[in-house]
């Protein structure tokens, strides 16, 4: 198995050309449904009947059983495999969560990590809803941190459902950098 990649390589000039532009769009393969909600609640030991029982949710003012607000991220992720994809090989690069600001925007960096996220929630998610996430690069801030020199890239994600209604808007800050010892080693 090869090592996972930490971002698409390129120059800062190339990074700048993506500023203000759409850098990715994904639609979750599965509509909101009870089973995926239960499996999401399970590792968090999260007991709340508006997420598991339609009658309880209606009593709380919802139209139907409602998904947890922060599940919107998971429902917007594209499938990791779909029919027609080439068969996996043992030496393939491992699949990472598809974050466009890391994997679709070039930068002269070989490492990255998320530092901060902020999300506002609007329309609730009900069974049958399908989520699309549209990503934009909205800010680039160059910075030198203890771990290395690089830049904070801010990704705006707008999550919509099939009706076009906005479910959530989030801002994710990713620090992409090169560690001091590897600076100049890659090109």
């Amino acid at each position: 198995m090869s090592e996972p990649s930490w971002g698409l390589w390129g120059t800062w000039e190339e990074t700048e050309t993506f500023l203000g532009k759409e850098i990715g769009q994904s639609t979750g393969p599965d509509p909101v449904e009870k089973g995926s909600i239960r499996r999401w609640l399970e590792p968090k030991e999260f007991a709340c009947d508006i997420h598991t029982d339609a009658e309880a949710a209606k009593a709380a003012g919802y139209e139907d059983l409602v998904a947890p607000a922060s599940m919107v991220f998971s429902y917007g992720i594209a499938p990791y495999w779909r029919p027609g994809d080439k068969p996996a090989q043992i030496d393939d690069e491992p699949t990472q969560i598809p974050i466009p600001v890391i994997f679709d925007v070039p930068a002269p960096c070989d490492k990255s990590f998320a530092t901060s996220i902020e999300v506002e929630f609007f329309e609730p998610l009900y069974p049958g809803d399908v989520v699309t996430c549209t990503s934009k690069l909205v800010d680039i801030k160059h910075k030198e941190l203890r771990v290395g020199k690089g830049a904070f890239l801010r990704q705006e994600d707008t999550y919509t459902k099939q009706t076009g209604e906005v479910v959530a808007v989030s801002y994710l800050d990713i620090f992409r950098f090169v560690a001091p010892e590897s600076e100049g080693a890659s090109s």
Binding site: E3, P4, S36, R39, W40, E42, P43, K44, E45, F46, A47, C48, D49, I50, A56, A57, A59, A60, G61, P68, A69, S70, M71, F73, S74, I77, Y80, P94, T95, Q96, I97, K111, F113, A114, T115, S116, I117, E118, V119, E120, F121, S170, Y171
Partner: protein, 141 residues
Amino acid sequence: MSAAQTVSIAAVKAGDVLSPISIPITLQRLVMEAGANRDLSLIHHDSRVAQATGAPDAFANTYFLMGMFERLMRQWAGPKARIRKIGPLRMMVFNAVGDTVQFVGTVESVDKAAGTVSLDMWVQSARGKTVTAKAVVELGD
């Protein structure tokens, strides 16, 4: 938890404390979480890859932290409350396999006219304060 348990904004004041939640981070929990939240990045379930990035072990992902903050808020505010905003959520220290982490929160301010409450929340463990998060919840009368 039933609809009758929803907290009333009239009863909330700055400084109120949300009942904290402790949860152990095990590799099994991280695997269950990755499968459920679809963040399959190796740093969240493969100790070797996580350690190669400088982490002590595989560590909890952002979606788990978000979801646990939602649980903290939901348990306090009740089923009729609407979660309007989470963030900025800042990750400062790893929440890794072997850590027992505690999700904690207090009421920062109350806007009775808007019907909203601002919360100040964080995660703490033997490593110290590992994550901080602000949030806004809309409450009923």
